[in-house]
Assembly symmetry: C2
Homo-oligomer: 186 residues x 2
Amino acid sequence: MPAPSLSREEVAQRILAEFRRSGYQGATLASLSEATGLGKSSLYHYFPNGKTDMGTAALEAVGVWFGEHVMPTLAEDAPAEKRLKKFSAALSEFYAKGSKPCLTDLFTIGEAGEFFQQYLKQRLGGLIKALAAVVVETGVPAEEASRRAEDAMIAMHGSLVVSRALGTTAPFVRTMRNFPGVLLGQ
Amino acid sequence: MPAPSLSREEVAQRILAEFRRSGYQGATLASLSEATGLGKSSLYHYFPNGKTDMGTAALEAVGVWFGEHVMPTLAEDAPAEKRLKKFSAALSEFYAKGSKPCLTDLFTIGEAGEFFQQYLKQRLGGLIKALAAVVVETGVPAEEASRRAEDAMIAMHGSLVVSRALGTTAPFVRTMRNFPGVLLGQ
DNA sequence: GTCTATACGAAGATAGAC
DNA sequence: GTCTATCTTCGTATAGAC
């Protein structure tokens, strides 16, 4: 009984990378096997329900990363603008300056949406709510703050799509530079 | 030799609908066959290179629609704001108020991007350029106009993703209501 | 131009040895 | 926990009749 060569979390990270590279439908057991270095049977040991379980694991891996690197930026002891800048920087790193896609996009297309949309709705909703709370701190009414937070997430996701289509990260980089400004109404 | 039951253009429209429903990888010859009412062999008669040809046909079908319903709004004899409102309304119709996705998103994911990204880059670039030209008419410098046009397209694509994830068209509808304002700096 | 039938490999999933 | 081997179904594509 050999020790596992990879922790479940490391496996999930590699699965996430493959889903981001190929999309949900585009990733196959063969490509996921290659990405993790595990045989198909080993993958089924970790994920008894196959590809959908792997999709869930990828979403959880994103959740862990956001919980460790993104959300904490909003709880720091610093002015709102500084926190939002750090938040924006954390997102830029996660999306590799706009060169890597978001599961919120990939996992809501076609039948993948039937499995993952509810989960993603909660996630995106939570993110918008957390951003809005920071904006409210600066004296903005709740309703307007929510609108701005939603606009900020809209801009981020849109810039990922546009960057991908134009083949340059410039739109994403520019959008994330303006991210705090959008939220603070500057 | 029976006459074709559908024109090539009608076939392309149905193929487009199926790709928007399922994504590029998610659409299969079986689903495309069902969507068009044609057998697989008939599809290969129209599209000898199979699925990639059908993807190209879907892109061309979008091009026809935009050429007929979207781009002409910018050439009308009316004030810039009125033209931009009509442009925004035409987009809203094409995206069914935010409930149907954009091929710019779907066809740049995974290996589909290898086939279609260059085409989509030209398309999106042309759209941004056309919008920027209208903004320039209102006295805005070219560089700033291009930025606003890009921002407007970013907002539109982002609102499609966010609407899909949240399961409501509200973000798209709100974004398209502000579409002319973003371009005119209001 | 459309159909039925079919070839062939890929995809998801499982069996069972070690 | 990982592997090889295998099963079944699906996906793409073609052959050939009408």
